[in-house]
């Protein structure tokens, strides 16, 4: 058992958001009534507002990526629950530009419906609204899963690329096409050696027998479809990267961006060890790794696990990725 540091269980996410807004008052504005944050500084060249959101518990996603060069607004829901369409609608109105607003949505039924309702309301209000759906999770890539692949780690890469493009004045149609094609060239795979603790009671969301790994977990405490026995890191990363490359098949000249992402309670030591293995495997397979991030970027509360995301880029995408960004969680 591991009890959360909080005032009361229902207010963990909302207290966090207000603390976040106070901590980063130099970068973000906060609408307490409707529960969303907005960027204080954003490129005047933008013709489209960029907005994302989803359940809380994945910090720094999404509020951490609000700021110059990335999102104009983020709407977090309660823990692991979709934001309300009202939040999305109001935030969209707050950040819409002449060409409207773009929603970056992770592929979950609740998020699709709530962002969809907001989009209908925006249409009713005469505000143009586009959507980029992120569905990178390889573990949910199966004929049997009608809902399609889940959206996970790639979200922040897609948001970064779109932010760079929006800063150059790209229009709504262009951003939808760009985001959709970037999302299509991202895949993620996640493993865990222990579940997150449920905020309600501090108990692990599921139990794993010692020496077992959950291979293909989601970011809401969903178990994977399979359990594997523990492997030395090199072999584990080799398997994961092999599966990602089989799905993406980057050409020998195509630049690849990697995200080594902690799901919450895995140590920085492990993440850098994982990066070392990843780097080695990609080199051996002659994959052109051109950029990488190592850290906690898309979490699942305090799950003890990590995910690997690969994004196959091109020169244009890389250029947008490299563009300056200044947000609470990403800055260069």
């Amino acid at each position: 058992m591991a009890r959360y540091f909080e005032n009361c269980a229902g207010e963990l996410a909302s207290d966090a958001l207000s603390g976040f807004a106070r901590a980063h008052a130099d970068l973000v504005g906060y609408d307490a009534a409707d529960g969303f944050v907005t960027a204080l500084h954003t490129a005047p060249a933008r013709t489209v507002g960029l907005l994302s959101g989803g359940g809380a518990g994945h910090e720094p996603l999404h509020a951490g990526y609000v700021g110059a060069g990335m999102l104009d607004a983020a709407c977090p829901g309660r823990i692991f629950a979709s934001p309300h369409n009202r939040q999305i609608f109001r935030a969209s109105l707050a950040v819409a530009r002449p060409e409207g607003v773009l929603h970056v949505v992770k592929n979950y039924t609740g998020d699709r419906i709530n962002f969809g309702i907001a989009a209908e309301r925006l249409a009713d209000a005469g505000v143009a609204c586009g959507r980029v759906l992120v569905d990178d999770d390889l573990a949910s890539d199966s004929e049997e899963i009608a809902a399609g692949r889940r959206g996970t780690g790639a979200t922040l890469l897609v948001e970064k690329v779109l932010g760079g493009a929006a800063d150059r004045g790209m229009g709504l149609g262009g951003l939808v096409d760009l985001g959709t094609s970037v999302a299509a060239r991202c895949r993620t795979l996640a493993v865990a050696s222990a579940a997150h603790h449920a905020p309600a009671d501090g108990e692990p969301a599921f139990a794993l027998p010692p020496g077992e790994l959950e291979y293909g977990v989601g970011i809401h405490g969903e178990r994977a479809d399979r359990t594997r026995s523990w492997q030395p890191l090199g072999a584990l990363v080799e398997d994961m990267v092999g599966a990602l490359l089989d799905a993406l098949r980057p050409g020998p000249e195509e630049p690849v961006v990697a995200l080594v992402n902690g799901l919450g309670a895995v140590t920085s030591l492990e993440l850098y060890g994982i990066f070392g293995e990843l780097d080695r495997v990609l080199e051996a397979r002659r994959v052109r790794l051109v950029r990488h991030l190592v850290g906690n970027y898309v979490t699942a509360l305090d799950m003890r696990g990590f995910s690997l995301t690969l994004m196959v880029a091109d020169r244009v995408v890389l250029d947008f990725y490299d563009a300056p960004v200044r947000t609470p969680a990403l800055s260069w």
Binding site: H84, N85, R86, F89, G110, R112, I113, N114, G116, I117, A119, E120, R121, D124, A146
Partner: protein
Amino acid sequence: MAHAAFDGIQTLAWMRDFTQSVYATEAELTALDQRAGDGDFGANLAAGVRASGLRCDRMEGPTGPAETLGAMADAFLDEIGGTSGPLFGLLFQALSRAAAGSGPDLTTASLAEGAARGLAAIRRVGDASPGDKTLVDALAPAAAALLATKDSPPAEALAGAAEAAWEGVRDTASLTARMGRASYLGQRATGIPDPGAVGVALLFASAGGTVDTLAHHVIIG
């Protein structure tokens, strides 16, 4: 006497009767969602009509159909959680738009147009087709019936739409859910009508000035 269109008072009366129907059936709706979903549908719908009523009461001066339906839309869209609440909001929003576009009173033609647009929005958002065991199974036939009777007075046309909706509700009992929470139950929800569809039928049935319980229309067994 049949009116050619609902004026503001008549539209308000329709909505008030819908509200009473929801309150009267809340427990039954909850029972349905307990067996096919997570048991909050009755509460969600009741919260929706309660919030709508408060908004309508707060409106000043004479209110036309578009304003009343718009207040319903905003309440369901802004204040209600769950899947169905905002979907009802989209329906009210489309009805309000259509009403606003067709003069001061609410014609059957604009009701038909609003229902069709609301259905389209709900399907875009929720991605449900007829036969997926959702409220679409009640709304689609109701919208079709309104279109077929768009030259009749609204009370008559809405009664026909309600008939079509109840027909759709009864069909959902034999279906296996593909969308929403009931879809996780597979065959286990077969035999139980979809609560969201019942809610839609109640809306159209409430225009006749009667407050029903469900027993007349669906068998909960």
